[in-house]
Assembly symmetry: C2
Homo-oligomer: 460 residues x 2
């Protein structure tokens, strides 16, 4: 039978550091530890992630719209590792008393048990589907699966709309509702408006007037991460592209619409005139609300808003050999407030936590260092060579912001091979229109299809 | 409710030609008809296919191994069409009396009814799973889904093998059995040997000795499409790469192996010494036996080996307004033998059938032309910059054959954008090793997973 791969008798001399999660936090922690311990044979480093690649999440929008090949928005993990070992598995449970991680490889369900001396939680976040009833019918936009799915889904809607003669149906098919006007929602809708403009050239029976975008946010304005002035620029840009922006709108529920079987209804609260409104759409995207991985809640440690509370050194106080960083950790800044869940923070936390772990493992008497970082800025791409943001205190917008955004992210890719592929994709995208090929998926076992049970039966 | 899109009252003056199938035959018939009738408003051309792209099947091997981006092995159909209309749907039924095609769009199950005046069957073939019992457990290699799936599957096996300490399990995980030593099987195994060599660099715990390839054929030798001398060259090349070639072997059955739940057993007949042999493998690929689309069998017309029998003009004798070409048609040559199911034939049949249909529709009194073609040659890529074949009577092998093969197929791509992408992919592949990123699929609802029901439960 299957022997769990890493349960060899635990020697006293061998220290094993196990990192859970392959996002910015987990990958860079592994890379730093690998470097620190490159000449220490008594220290073993194991990274566990459910995918064997690392996602450049800011490039996900372009992967979804087809500017980038989806595979180019990710970097394979294995070529980055020299000393550290990689195991592709889903983490299922952590036993802090026995110091064991229980994981499982999909799709064959092979169970793994991985003992650790030090554990690093870098499990990130996932879409929070508990805030709005019916969220399970909406699409998420967190990983490569979501991006590939969204692209195929939209092309499929265009195929249906092109074949339809019913104006009501076409309107519903080409209505896009994005819930959440933060960075994710704004970048996504920016790319989508560019994507449909490209698609239209291949569907002569569909015109831009058939397509409708709505961006909803519960707060008084979009892009709350940015200055009012920059957010206004983004809102105006989107508005000029025909995006309806609805702020101060808390979606009440999402429901499948019985006839036709496949559409969704998004219920909005009554407006100033007491008019409740229902949006009917085939596509509802949930870009609001990220919650930490549920595994965090199962840890016997203090948590705040689902995040595990750590010291500024990223150590979990009550569990001396567990560390946490990134979106799943509540790391207090000098005012006791948590750092925001941004890649630029996770990257820098990784370096600090790796060195702190090294200090404890090597027991060299050095003091652990707290994480302190002042953000250098925020940038958002709006698609169509347009962007907005603030870098080192300077506000930029338009093509310049878009260009800085692109250049920054491509330079964050860990390998030149990937950078080259991304740059080539961008070059080709300048020369040719996007194509309308759907990458095939099997089964389409996706939330949005749960509601699709019975067919319509043959028309006559 | 959904109105079938093209059931507008059928005017006497409007003639509609409906083409079923978007392979070489269907696409090129549509393109020729579109050109012939470009100034005829009274003639409507409708192409129906279940994917909105056209697959360059000879490039599927490279798409599967990651040399090409999967999407680059296909060409979107829509940009090719100016006059002709495209409908993305699965053809379900044909009513030749009412002259109606019944189709269905997936995944939303929307039914379409498309009337026709002339019907062109270019439905191609599919893997024949009725020859070997248990074929449903094997993987096919016919379309983009299969290619993407195979790549992910192999990378996944490497991830499992890398995590395993059980030599028996590693052997089984890395055993590849290819059934069918024709062009498809040989090209596929050639690419696979190159692919695993590239993968190995990312999996330091796995060595080439752990990997085993077996190529099985029921006939006395592989590559029966080619001269003995060329087939010998291919066999020797594969043998040097460690491929075990078993000829005169008719697989008796394929069965799931109870323990572990996920492996397969391939039963071979007894050899000269009376030894029966069972191959245990995680991967069994079915590259033998192509059968025409089952819709063909439902047509009220004569068929031979599942193919619809047509006149040399490609007209179905008993149904004057139905035509057929490509892999689903039995088109007699001057000796009454059928033309082989090769792309180069389908391409040329398309031109002849389009002109014949035009003659009937325009009723210009011209005689219909029979299809007559002498093949210019056959080429097979063996991967690793090696190939073999015969072009215009000259035998070539090695790098030259491989280069001619590549150049020929890239020039067959209908658009320069795709050619450029393919050439760039090839260039990058020369500079960098293949990556090990798995493109995500949902559900993994694939034949090979039918047998995967219960998990192993937690080890202790």
């Amino acid at each position: 039978m299957t022997t769990p791969p890493t349960t060899a008798p635990h020697q006293r001399t061998l220290k094993r550091i196990v990192i859970l999660g392959g996002g910015f936090g987990g990958i860079y922690t592994t890379l730093h530890l690998q470097k620190i311990f490159r000449h220490h044979d008594a220290v073993e480093i194991v990274l566990i992630n459910n995918d064997n690649y690392f996602l450049m999440s800011p490039l996900l929008f372009e992967a979804g719209s087809g500017v980038l090949e989806p595979r180019h928005a990710v970097t394979p993990i294995r070529p980055l590792l020299h000393k550290a070992r990689f195991i592709e598995a889903d983490v299922e449970r952590i036993d802090v008393d026995k110091r064991l991680v229980f994981a499982r490889h999909t799709p064959d369900d092979k169970p793994y048990e991985i003992p650790y001396d030090h554990l690093v939680l870098a499990l990130g976040g996932k879409t929070n589907r508990s805030l709005i009833p019916g969220s399970e019918f909406a699409l998420g936009f967190k990983n490569l699966r979501d991006a590939i799915y969204l692209r195929n889904h939209i092309i499929d809607l265009f195929e249906q709309a092109d074949a339809s003669d019913d104006p009501e149906e076409i309107r519903r098919l080409l209505n896009f509702v994005i819930i959440g006007g933060g960075l994710v929602g704004v970048e996504l809708i920016g790319e989508l408006t560019e994507f449909v403009d490209n698609l239209l050239r291949s569907y002569p029976r569909i015109s831009r007037e058939h397509i409708h975008f709505a961006l909803l946010d519960a707060s008084p304005r979009i892009l709350s991460e940015m200055d009012q002035e920059l957010a206004d620029y983004a809102a105006e840009t989107l508005w000029r592209r025909g995006v309806e922006i609805l702020t101060n709108v808390r979606v009440q529920k999402i429901e499948p619409f019985a006839d036709p079987a496949s559409a969704l209804r998004v219920y909005l609260p009554a407006d100033a005139r007491g008019q409740a409104r229902i949006l009917e759409a085939e596509t509802v995207l949930l870009c609001a609300g990220v919650m930490p991985n549920p595994l965090i809640a199962s840890m016997p440690a203090e948590s705040l808003k689902g995040k595990i509370v750590v010291e500024p050194t990223m150590r979990v106080t009550s569990l001396g050999n567990v560390w946490a960083l990134g979106d799943c950790a509540f790391i207090p800044d000098k005012n006791g407030k948590p750092y925001p869940p941004l890649a630029q923070h996770a990257l820098r936390q990784a370096k600090v936590v790796a060195h702190n772990i090294a200090r404890v493992v090597l027991n060299d008497g050095a003091h652990l260092q707290p994480f302190v970082y002042e953000s250098k800025g925020t940038l958002a791409s709006l698609g169509h060579y347009d962007g907005v943001g603030k870098v080192l205190g300077i506000k930029i917008r338009g093509f310049a912001a878009w260009w800085v955004w692109r250049t920054y992210y491509v330079m964050q890719m860990p390998r030149w091979e990937r950078r080259l592929r991304v740059i080539l994709d961008w070059t080709i995208a300048l020369l040719f229109r996007n194509d309308v090929v759907k990458l095939d998926l099997f089964g389409q076992a996706h939330p949005s299809h749960r509601r699709r049970g019975t067919g319509l039966g043959f028309g006559s």
